[in-house]
Amino acid sequence: MDFYLNLINTIGIHTMLGLSAYLLLQTGQLSLAQAGFFAVGAYTAAILTVIFQWNIIPAVLAAMLLAGFLAFLVGFPALRVKGLMLVVATIAFSEFVRMFFYNLKWRVTRDGEEIGPDGTMGFAEIRYFSDNGWSNLDVTLFLWTFVIIIMVVVWWSDNTRAGAVLRAVGEDELAASSVGINLTIIKVSAMTVGGFIAGLSGGLYAHQVTSLDHHSFTVLLGTFAIAYPILGGLSNVFGTLVAVIFIQGLLVEGLRFIGDWRMILFGLLIVLAMNFKPLGLFDKQTVSMVKRAMRLKT
């Protein structure tokens, strides 16, 4: 049971991470910075609960705000860097954040015990949930409450004018500005909201795994973050969710059947997927085909 709860938690966290990149990808900004905002959220929330003894909800919300604010600051210089250069810049940003936390040492002694981030040794003992008597089920429900909220928010965005504006900017900036859309506001907002979401999921992640190590926050995580919406297609929130379930399910469950080869299969899968369905597994054509097929059945 615990095993499945863990899997469900991981799916939830990764779905949020994917959705944080989703909005940005819609505006045409290829950002691998989500791992950086995720890390900021994780360490901030953990420091608040561990060192400052905050309650989890304000801690996670504060982490969200800080990550969002950082994203806001990143959003402006990001405007000057186009296309693939933004990929490199955001990779560099995420690496910088990772290395910053790798070097962060903030030890505090409490009740005779040393706690807090310990530089290269990582940040262990994030025990808020166990200290406060939360069961594993409690954690899962708590986490998924946030996931559902975020999914609803992004789904809403997709179905209102906001979503159409985001995608218009992503498709053709010249045409978009010619009909009165302020590119700066839209792109920086997307980056900021992406930062909020990533920070939120990071804060939750930190408490779920109870110990942080800089290895979790590499470029790899950033590429996962954009892989989910790319595979799931940029027109549908559920596409991202399914992509997360598929990938995490494959990686975790696949362990049982193909052992260590699962990561190799994963890489191969991505290469194949991009060649055959470059617009994602759930692009508009596939979705309408499925819809038509379902209509024929009934």
């Binding site: 209102t160 004018r161 498709e171 978009a176 500005s177 010619s178 009909v179 009165g180 027109s235």
Partner: protein, 250 residues
């Protein structure tokens, strides 16, 4: 309404616009013609703020547009279409208009909240009217990329009109059209004029220009070589020389 004051724009060594002076009065359909490379597209791009001019100024309704970015110019009432259609291909027809429509802050009756939830009846009604005007009502939920060429051009025009402009710049809207489509475009443009929109028509297709415009300016090598009503322009020797390399009297 719109004044082009001694605009010069060069790209490297190429002088696209050279001390151009134009004045477009409110309510007219103003044509701009000239051989290829005479600076017509550059003119639209300068008016819309895509390139700043090297010299000179664009004055719209008495105010200089200098330094204003493109989206702000759109908000002050300048709209345009593109020579090679620039629709949002993965958005539906309805969404293409929707994106352009709410950019204009003139709804005082419905709250922002309603508008952002997509429930604004006023917006729905207006977009429906625009779809009817463009004969695209039954294509509303189709992706813009799946439209036929003529339908795409109509959508592009509708989208520009959706921003509720005071002045509309059309960049070679008749390119690639057959005679029926040109006739249709002619009546649409007149219709827009009746709605109170001033129109600048940049075009090569002479039967459209001569048929629908009130005044025409002729450009060559970035400056104005002639101006007048269609009949005057047709007879103008400088114009003939620019286009044909010789005039009728040669």
């Amino acid at each position: 309404m719109l004044k082009i004051k001694s605009i010069s724009k060069h790209f490297g060594g190429v002088k696209a616009l050279n001390g151009l002076d134009l004045e477009v009065e409110e309510g007219v359909i103003y044509g701009v013609i000239g051989p290829n490379g005479s600076g017509k597209s550059t003119l639209i791009n300068v008016i819309c703020g895509i390139f700043p001019p090297n010299k000179g100024d664009v004055i719209f309704q008495g105010q200089s547009l200098s330094g204003k970015p493109t989206h702000q110019r759109s908000k002050t009432g300048i709209a345009r279409t593109f020579q090679n259609i620039r629709l949002f291909p993965s958005l539906t027809v309805w969404q293409n208009l929707w994106v352009a429509r709410n950019s204009v802050e003139d709804i005082n009756t419905e709250s922002r909240f309603y508008r952002w939830f997509g429930k604004s009846n006023i917006v729905k009604k207006e977009i429906k009217e625009m779809l009817e005007f463009s004969n695209l009502e039954n294509r509303a939920d189709e992706l813009a990329s799946s439209l036929a060429f003529g339908e795409q051009r109509r959508l592009e025009l509708a989208r520009a009109v959706a921003t509720k402009p005071r002045i509309l710049l059309l960049d070679e809207p008749a390119a690639g059209m057959n005679k029926d489509e040109i006739r249709d475009l002619d009546s649409r443009i007149r219709n827009l004029q009746l709605q109170g929109i001033t129109i600048i028509l940049i075009e090569h297709v002479m039967e459209l220009v001569m048929g629908v415009t009130d005044r025409i300016a002729v450009l060559n090598f970035g400056s104005k070589i002639a101006e007048g009503n269609p009949q005057e322009i047709q007879k103008n020797e400088a114009v003939q020389e620019a286009y044909l390399g010789y005039s009728e009297d040669d």
